[in-house]
């Protein structure tokens, strides 16, 4: 809502406040002021002048040579506007004048002729293009006849006004009117204001004689008033009305339209004027539209209606979509003489639906959608009649013809001052509360601590005790509330074990050299099904799809974090950042239904993607390019941190390198994720180099960890280390031999580590040597050499049996 301070001053004197200070007070008591701006950049030295003569410039076809009377003398001015004509009263920038943009006007010569200033367009005076009346858009502005030569054009055009822009919350639609703003400012400042009674002299003829109002759906349209005005002369509205509209950002059109708009701004009540002759009937029937019924609206669009839309008809055809837009057929035109002026209350939900369906959010529909003041509907009609009589020569017929089942009662709210103070933590006296109610102009009855408040109908938002609590608090001032701390029982806050583990995992990954990322949960249909871990795949999930996505890139809920993570790598790669190590701890969304009806399972996963150089230390000739084992090492470290035994088995996963990918399984053979290289084809598509990833079921990791025994004690007895080197066929995975060693050496073998892998000289083609370091330990006692020897022999026998592994000579 744009509030003109000049206009506000018509209702309530705020001249003693600086605009910024007033804005601050309004913000603190109720409504946020979003900006304080002058209507136009300051212009100086612009006066009204009359074009005494206007001739063709002798040396320029498109210029005119004008003699302009500015009251204190005649100036010769060269003007290029096409609409300049003798006899016009126009804004003249005299030599020394300054136009917006600090543009100084000097005496000059144009194509050989002296020009003592400039005749101005509204745009040149700083008016926003969209607020300039159509006829002046391509040329200079022309004043109405009743202005005096030499008068200050800036104040005549209200260009010295200040506009306060209010950011209205949905509950404060009462301030969608100047009257509402005046009530609010009066309460904030503790000043007097009352909306003046409107008065209009009517003829003896009755509107009811000319038109009958019939309402088919009183719930959707509880009040409809039809005023009839005769002898209307459509023309320009007076300058002051035009100025008010311009200040509020509405372009002046003609006196009839301008006056309905003026009342809309003043009372917050939208009105609509029909050309009664073109309306073509003596019946106004409001009803729900029939399915497929059509109307051509004022903007010359043909629109198809439905029973959700309330329409105004002449008994046959639609002439307006109620509260949204009038029909082209009965639009007020220059030759209109009789007007049917509608003042009505339309149900907010109907108007909202119609405005939405037709994509027509207007000043009118916005107000109806929020609910207009039932006590101001008819009054607004009378106010418009008053102005039309005065400025359009209209004869107003007696009374509106109307349908009226409108509830105009006030909401009653009971409140108790002790309760108010208990809720706010204050000690506001009953007298202060009474004073606050008076400032708000809410009527009330009081008895000691009890107040019964009658909330005026302009404040339909006040229904509950809490609503009144807010009214009292804001006028009392939030600055005046004390600072206290909650008095309830002491409460030990903290993180749950799960939350601690999540933080711990993040700290682990960051310590391991990975940067945390946050990517989008919504991804494309294609990516939603990519790089999905096997244990998720086994649930046969269908990616959850949005009903109305905004773009194909963000249409489905992710089943894996990896695709978006790879997108991030791709983004960086395109910007010459080739060494990336990222991880993310986030949820994926698993629904097992074809058509979603239940909330999907939100599974926490920990994923990472690493590419480029892991370590580069050139002057010591050290360099490590990321490979499978860098990423596997990170996963192993996490498992060690969580104290979980896991196994890695080669596997094929869609989108992953078939020879360099392993699934990770728990001791109980449950899959908890995978680690590996992204398939080169996928890498190519994304324009990224070799990228290694992991994707783990963090939810399960946390679950297993929570179920586990707390801590193992540190062993008190010495352990024994033994190394063995085994020669096996190249195809035998090291992990299989490791497993056999554990099994054969149980329970004494506690740890098996590969420390060398060798192929080449001294070995047969197709063979490799694997060297393991074994740790033997009995937590209860010191081991004897013979025991270790026996276990070692058993191990050698079993690796020979199972893997044909020979002890390397």
């Amino acid at each position: 809502m744009l509030v003109s301070l000049n206009w506000l001053n018509d209702y309530i004197d705020v001249n003693d406040y600086k605009p910024e200070d007033l804005a601050e007070i309004i913000t603190k008591t109720g409504i946020e002021v979003e900006s304080v701006n002058p209507v136009a950049e300051a212009a100086k030295g612009i006066v009204v002048g009359r074009v005494v003569s206007c001739e063709q410039h002798p040396n320029a076809e498109k210029l005119s040579l004008c003699q302009v009377d500015i009251g204190e003398g005649i100036l010769q001015i060269v003007c290029g506007a096409p609409n300049i004509a003798e006899g016009q009263k126009v804004p003249v920038a005299t030599p020394g004048a300054v136009l917006p943009g600090n543009f100084k006007i000097n005496k000059t010569k144009l194509r050989g002729e002296v020009s003592n200033g400039m005749i101005c367009s509204l745009q040149e005076l700083g008016v926003d293009e969209k607020d300039v009346p159509k006829e002046y858009q391509e040329g200079i502005y022309v004043f109405p006849e009743d202005v005096n030569l030499g008068d200050d054009a800036v104040s005549l055009l209200n260009l010295n006004d200040i506009i306060i822009e209010l950011g209205l919350t949905p509950n404060r639609s009462d301030c969608l009117s100047m009257a509402g703003v005046a009530y609010e400012v009066a309460a904030a400042l503790g000043r007097e204001y009352k909306l003046a009674e409107e008065e209009v002299e009517t003829s003896n003829e009755k509107a009811e004689k000319m038109v009958k109002v019939e309402v088919e759906d009183p719930q959707a349209n509880p009040y409809y008033g039809a005023f009839i005005l005769k002898d209307v002369k459509v023309g320009k509205s007076p300058l002051w009305i035009q100025n008010r509209l311009t200040a509020a950002g509405i372009r002046p059109i003609n006196n009839v339209v301008d006056i309905t708009n003026f009342v809309l701004l003043e009372y917050g009540q939208p009105l609509h004027a029909f050309d009664f002759d073109r309306f073509g009937s003596s019946r106004v029937v409001t009803r729900r539209a029939r399915s497929g019924e059509k109307i051509t609206t004022l903007d010359d669009q043909e629109r198809t209606l439905s029973p959700d839309h309330l329409i105004i008809t002449n008994g046959e055809n639609a002439h307006a979509i109620a509260g949204v837009m009038g029909g082209a057929e009965s639009e007020v035109q220059e030759n209109t003489t009789t007007i049917l002026l509608e003042a009505a209350y339309f149900n907010p939900a109907n108007v909202r639906q119609a405005a939405k369906d037709h994509g027509l959010r207007s000043e009118a529909s916005t107000r109806f959608e929020k609910g207009v003041d039932p006590n101001r509907v008819e009054r607004a009609g009378i106010r418009a009649c008053e102005l039309l009589q005065q400025y359009a020569g209209a004869t107003v017929l007696e009374g509106p013809a109307k349908f009226d089942q409108l509830d105009r009662s006030e909401n009653k709210v009971q409140m108790n001052s002790l309760k108010i103070n208990e809720r706010l933590g204050t000690e506001i006296s009953n007298e202060e509360i009474a004073y606050i109610l008076e400032r708000l102009q809410f009527t009330y009855e009081s008895n000691g601590d009890e107040f019964l408040v009658y909330a005026p109908t302009r404040r339909g938002d006040i229904v509950l005790f809490e609503d009144m609590l807010e009214e009292v608090a804001r006028i009392y001032g939030y600055d005046n509330l004390p600072f206290t701390l909650p008095s309830g029982a002491a409460h030990a806050g903290g993180l749950s074990l799960e939350q601690k583990l999540k933080r711990g995992m993040k700290a682990y990954f960051e310590g391991a050299g990975l940067d945390e990322t946050i990517t989008y949960s919504l991804t494309s249909e294609k990516q939603a099904a990519m790089l999905v871990s096997k244990e998720v795949e086994e649930l046969t999930p269908t990616p959850v799809k949005l009903a109305m996505p905004m773009s194909e890139d963000h249409s489905h809920m992710r089943l894996s974090i990896l695709p978006e993570l790879l997108q991030s790598i791709s983004y960086n790669s395109a910007r010459k950042q080739q060494n990336i190590a990222y991880y993310e701890l986030g949820t994926v969304f698993i629904s097992q239904e074809e058509e979603v009806t239940k909330q999907p399972h939100e599974m926490l996963r920990a994923s990472g993607a690493v590419t480029g150089e892991w370590l580069a230390h050139p002057w010591q000739q050290e360099k490590k390019v990321v490979d499978f084992f860098v990423v596997k090492g990170i996963v192993e470290g996490l498992m060690k941190w969580l104290d979980l035994d896991v196994k890695y088995t080669k596997a094929k996963i869609e989108g992953m390198h078939p020879g360099r990918t392993a699934v990770v399984t728990t001791a109980e053979e449950e899959i908890i994720g995978f680690v590996g290289q992204v398939h080169p084809k996928v890498q190519n598509e994304l324009g990224i180099k070799d990228t290694f990833v992991f994707d783990l079921n963090a939810e399960m990791l946390i679950d297993i960890y929570q179920k586990e025994e707390a801590f193992e004690t540190i062993p008190r007895f010495p352990s024994v280390n033994r190394d063995i080197a085994l020669v096996v066929e190249d195809s035998v995975p090291a992990g299989h031999i490791e497993k056999t060693i554990y099994e054969a050496g149980a329970p004494l073998v506690k740890q098996v580590r590969v420390f060398d892998v060798y192929q080449g000289e001294h070995l047969e083609e197709g063979m490799k040597s694997l060297a393991y370091r074994l740790l033997y330990l009995d937590p209860e006692r010191t081991l004897k050499d013979e025991e270790v020897e026996a276990a070692h022999e058993q191990i050698l026998k079993e690796v020979k049996d199972k893997h044909n592994a020979e002890l390397r000579a």
């Binding site: 601050e24 603190k28 008591t29 946020e32 919350t169 939900a349 909202r352 929020k370 208990e422 809720r423 706010l424 933590g425 204050t426 509950l464 809490e466 609590l469 608090a473 804001r474 939030y478 509330l481 004390p482 600072f483 206290t484 701390l485 909650p486 309830g488 029982a489 002491a490 409460h491 806050g493 903290g494 749950s496 960051e510 310590g511 391991a512 990975l514 940067d515 945390e516 990322t517 946050i518 989008y520 949960s521 919504l522 799809k545 949005l546 009903a547 991030s568 983004y571 960086n572 950042q577 190590a581 991880y583 969304f589 979603v596 909330q599 999907p600 939100e602 370590l615 230390h617 010591q620």
Partner: protein, 344 residues
Amino acid sequence: MKERLQELKAEALNKVDEAREVQHLKDVRVEYLGKKGPITEVLRSMGKLSKEERPVIGQLANDVREDIAQAIEKKQSALEEAALEKQLEAESIDVTLPGRPVQVGGPHLLTSIVEEIEDLFIGMGFEIKEGPEVETDYYNFEALNLPKGHPARDMQDSFYITEELLLRTHTSPVQARTMGLKNGSEPVKMICPGKVYRRDTDDATHSHQFTQIEGLLVDKHVRMSDLKGVLNTFAKQMFGAEREIRLRPSFFPFTEPSVEMDISCKVCGGTGCSVCKGTGWIEILGAGMVHPNVLEMAGYDPKEYSGFAFGMGPERIAMLKYGVDDIRNFYINDQRFLKQYHKA
């Protein structure tokens, strides 16, 4: 004999003096102090001496031995010291060469901010609660006093999956769920951070996915001044002790009264500048007293229980605190951006 001993001593000390290596000293030790050495010889031949002379010469011989041994020891440590110095000299390196790099990762700026806020409220006795990102219409809207048809829950603003399921538009449903578990009889003191989603076209100030962190306290006798006190504590710890706060009226369907909290502008100190659009204040969060309908739907008697709630956007806080000027930066994951804020 006396002369012989003095002679030997002088000779030995001279050799010690001339020794350039530890081995030379060992030779001197063997030569003079060994079992076959000249001093031992002197001692052996003491039988020839008179009773009076024997102790004198014996004493002298011992003194000479002692002196030589001491000299050897002294010289030896001097030689060792010199040898070590030489070795260390040879081991010297150029300490100005760069070290072997260590991979260092760090948290996302939003995580840093969320955890800072979490820790701050944990210190005030709050718990952290989390909830689903795909929510039911009931918990996302209805339980929060946003019945069907309410203008503030326009289909256009939310990502719906079905008529009853949508991506949560705020973290408030976690509050409704948590309250719902208390049978209307226990206090609630919680913070809920998380991802939320709205139908916005991504640009410098809008993101279809963003983060929210909300707080809720429900108990008997909760006052609005408590809200002011808690928010003041939060603002001063988060933004600096010299920050002032102010509350001003606002509107949220789930609170009544509703307020927005501003903090005094750090840039200008409250006098007005371009950062605070000339007002001296910067909007930080929305808050209010829990709406009685919300309490009632969660099973609390609003006559007995009251509460306050507040909510804020970590992105906005990050933008204010660290001057991030484009919200998309939080989700694009440009490495340079992420690394820049690891110490935040």
